[in-house]
Symmetry: C2
Subunit: 370 residues, 2 copies
């Protein structure tokens, strides 16, 4: 009988930079030449079938021109592909082409690509470095800060994954110009959510500059990219492992994630989130934390961003209610919601607790009404 | 154009205890009641089809008796099952039964179970705590210290995984009594390897007490369990992310891992390692780092532990040579070997470098000779 103590206390530094700008391909190459990932010379570029031709092939060629070994690993575009199977397919392709622990992964694409590639990097050879070259507004809002990476499973979204920090994130706003309009709208949902939870100023900026944003005006877009990083960073920094405060980033996601799944990904993430935000401002109004006018302002702004504000007819609302229970915030079998307080704030129910149990009937009633 | 700094420097404490003893089921339950994993009350017990009936069901009942929620998740025994598919099957079963982020995983079994369950725990809900209840000598030698978790893929062993530290490890030596003799022998290979790399005393203890160990004598077994932890800990502590020193634990594994795969897991890990150790003492002798007598001592000790010391006839030796290149230590396309120096030491080729490039022809010649 004996006890053996394994002491593993240490300082970990996962700090990194997010660079925001127009056309950052050269910046990426220069960073690599300047030792961003040490002397690694082998790069696996993970991208999807849309971004492949738009940006990834170009970056691949630039890397090869500099004498690096680099290969493209491409999967079909779409949230539906963010699965363990896609991860496995890319792992096998990388192993087949001789990639081992001495490589770096560069994710080029939107949130689906960065989520999947970041997770893959975290488990490939028990962890290799990765870089995000984000080509969507949504990735700027959602995937650049927080280190959350994951894939979906048939039973739940984002439940298999890792906290894994990139070595650097590039937010290339020039790439937004090639985004389909629907993707721009979708990306704005997370930005609007950020405004709802912590910045009345950003909310008003969005109200006043929606046209400029939708036409990818440089200054307006750089401003929202910056604000997104700032807000998410402030929240995430205070609570890196999502024990409490970080749950506020989940505003709108209880219903949003569920609709996204029940729609079988016909709805984009931001579109589903938009409906989720409508549900949650209705809830906040019912609970007395928002006035009807404030709630309407949120709905109007979502609408201005061309986002859906009602549940599509093809969604089975009872199935949706059932699906709410796959939410990560469920505790002891009860639904829990983050609740907005006015515009730019959320309710802290008790110290460090930002989600509150809501009866299924209350949730059902709201879902039936929108 | 702007740079946003994400500062993520922090102190992480992954310390844990390894408890070594006979029949530790009660100890485990008491630890949980005393808050080993906080107030978590939901336990997913992951085990294999052999350990299920021997120990896991019993622990399941004890947990339930204490009022905990607990379920067994069982996969077929054997290294061949240490795959992404098995991980996925268990993830789906856990999600199906309502397991989310508020659970703890208890791995009950040998190295295959603890490797797979530790990896699964690291990615389930982006990480839930896990506990190892180790029921084999090999797990005591190999899986209790170091935090390495992984699964195998068709192209390489242990290349998809994580560094993930358990909350506690139990080495229940009483369970060794139900191990098939072959498993005991197999487990001893890692112990012999530990002696080879860093303890002449342990090597001599093994030479003098092999009979007692093989009949699971309490004192002898507790001694080797302790020594295994101590040696592995000393090596791992000095190099937690396997940049240099930790590679010495890979002694014998260059050839061993490859034979294990080429044998299609007909050889147990320790059996394959044993042949790998024979290959590497021959290499060390050729390179002048061991005398012929020292090398023979290692071969004799392996033989005393009833381990194979020649490559089985059914192995295609050319295929084996080719397979060497899937080794994690391969760098810039070259094979790299850890080399033993006398008994109880390894060669440090330059500061912090414990593996050396070896020509394929040299490796082939040794493989052909054993």
């Amino acid at each position: 009988m004996g006890i053996f103590n394994v002491e593993l206390k240490k300082v970990v530094d996962d700090s990194y930079k997010i660079e925001i700008g127009f056309h950052l391909e050269d910046t990426l190459i220069n960073d690599l030449k300047n030792g961003l990932v040490g002397n690694i010379s082998k790069f696996a570029l993970i991208t999807d079938s849309i971004v492949e031709n738009l940006y990834a092939k170009d970056i691949l060629e630039r890397l090869k021109k500099e004498g690096y070994t680099a290969d493209l690993f491409v999967f079909e575009a779409g949230e539906k592909q963010k699965t363990r199977q896609t991860k496995e397919m890319i792992e096998d392709a990388m192993l087949e082409r001789g990639y081992r622990r001495d490589c770096c992964i560069i994710a080029i694409g939107g949130g689906v690509v960065t989520d999947l590639a970041g997770f893959l990097a975290g488990t490939f050879g028990r962890g290799v470095p990765f870089i995000n070259y984000a080509t969507t507004l949504l990735a700027a809002a959602d995937a650049s800060v927080g280190g959350k990476t994951a894939v979906d499973t048939p039973l739940a979204t984002n439940l298999i994954g890792l906290f894994n920090q990139p070595k650097k994130v590039y937010l290339d706003i020039a790439t937004w110009q090639t985004l389909p309009a629907r993707q721009i709208y979708s990306g704005l949902a997370e930005t609007i959510k950020h405004a709802c939870i912590s910045s009345k100023e950003l909310f008003e900026f969005l109200e006043n500059n929606m046209d400029a944003i939708l036409s990818i005006d440089k200054n307006a877009c750089e401003h929202i990219a910056n604000e997104n990083c700032k807000i998410k960073y402030q929240v995430v920094m205070k609570d890196e492992l999502e024990s409490g405060l970080r749950e506020i980033l989940n505003l709108g996601h209880t219903v949003g994630r569920a609709i996204e799944t029940v729609s079988d990904y016909q709805l984009l993430h931001g579109e589903a989130l938009s409906i989720g935000l409508v549900a949650e401002v209705r809830l906040a109004t019912d609970l007395g934390y928002m006035t009807k006018e404030e709630a309407d302002k949120v709905v109007v702004l979502l609408s201005k961003a061309n986002l859906p504000i009602t549940i599509p007819e093809y969604i089975d609302k009872e199935q949706l209610v059932k699906k709410l229970y796959t939410d990560k915030k469920v505790k002891n079998g009860r639904l829990r919601f983050v609740v907005q307080k006015g515009i730019g704030d959320v309710v802290e129910f008790e110290e460090g607790v930002f989600a509150t149990p809501i009866d299924e009937d209350v949730a059902r009633q709201i879902i039936m009404s929108i």
